[in-house]
């Protein structure tokens, strides 16, 4: 067996190919690349959504007022101040800024240490719905039985969302 010679030949072929590649790249009138990249490439890779499963809940569901329900309000602070369900914890979901990891973790710990058996998140009720997306983030961190209110605050309080 001449494995050693095969390996040596492979290295030689690779070296020759690299030499031709570098010469060809330098000689091509257009489209050549600088061999050392200086600025990072702008790659657009959709980030995997870290979310977990959530289920819709009708705004009239009596479980919304149950003791074992952990309520989360995903709307902006102004809307939360104006009206919110009693006992709801406020964690605004912003489409442009991700929810701070420490605040999300605090919320998850609060849910985990509570005696709640289900989590209900409500948002602005738009499409997409901030409540549903915050619910997915909570569910994605290991919390089970996460629901979002169908129609969000619009359906709950009868107010039109912008």
């Amino acid at each position: 067996m001449r494995w050693r010679s095969v390996l040596v030949e492979a290295i030689a072929v690779a070296a020759a190919a690299i030499f031709v590649a570098v010469v060809f790249n330098a000689a091509r009138p257009v489209g050549g690349l600088p061999l050392i990249a200086r600025t990072p490439y702008q790659v657009l890779v959709p980030c995997p959504e870290p979310g977990g499963p959530v289920q819709p809940l009708p705004p009239t569901d009596p479980e919304l007022a149950a003791d074992r329900t952990f309520l989360v309000d995903a709307r902006p602070a102004d809307d939360f101040t104006r009206h919110h369900l009693p006992g709801a914890v406020h964690l605004p979901y912003d489409w442009l800024d991700p929810v701070p990891e420490d605040r999300l973790q605090q919320l998850v710990e609060a849910i985990a240490t509570s005696r709640a058996t289900r989590v209900v998140v409500y948002g602005d009720g738009g499409r997409p719905d901030s409540g549903e997306h915050l619910g997915r983030e909570i569910s994605g961190r290991g919390i089970k039985n996460v629901f979002f209110v169908s129609g969000g605050a619009s359906a709950l309080f009868g107010v039109e969302q912008p």
Binding site: A21, F24, V43, V45
Partner: protein, 155 residues
Amino acid sequence: MSAARTAAWLAVPARWYLGILFIGACLHKIADPHSFAVDIATYDILPLILVNLAAVTLPWIELAAGAMLLVGWRARTASLLITGMMAVFLAALAVALARGLDMSCGCFASQGAEEDPISHLTILRDLWWLGLALFVLFFDQGLAGIDHRFQRSNK
């Protein structure tokens, strides 16, 4: 016909298949190295200073190996090169999948993630090609190739 001889003849179409495959795969990368560099950068594995170097040189190694397999010149050398490249590609794919990246493989024409997304099927496909390259590496005797014609097989 002995088993080794049968395997040697089976290695011939495997060689041709891999040769055509790798020549086909390298053409768009040679024509448009910038797109290939973006594909490499998307994997986010190589440091930035190596991205362009890989984008410029890798397709030419693919071309050399593919042409050698196709014409049957130093086929085992070429299949060793392809085995090494496939091992690297597989490792990069596995890392990208483990990270959950929703991206294109970049193996052939540059496509978006929606048209040619990486998946476990991509891994299986590359494993098949790796298997073929190993088969040629171990069983090729240079039949129906330049080496055989000039009695200069690697074996």
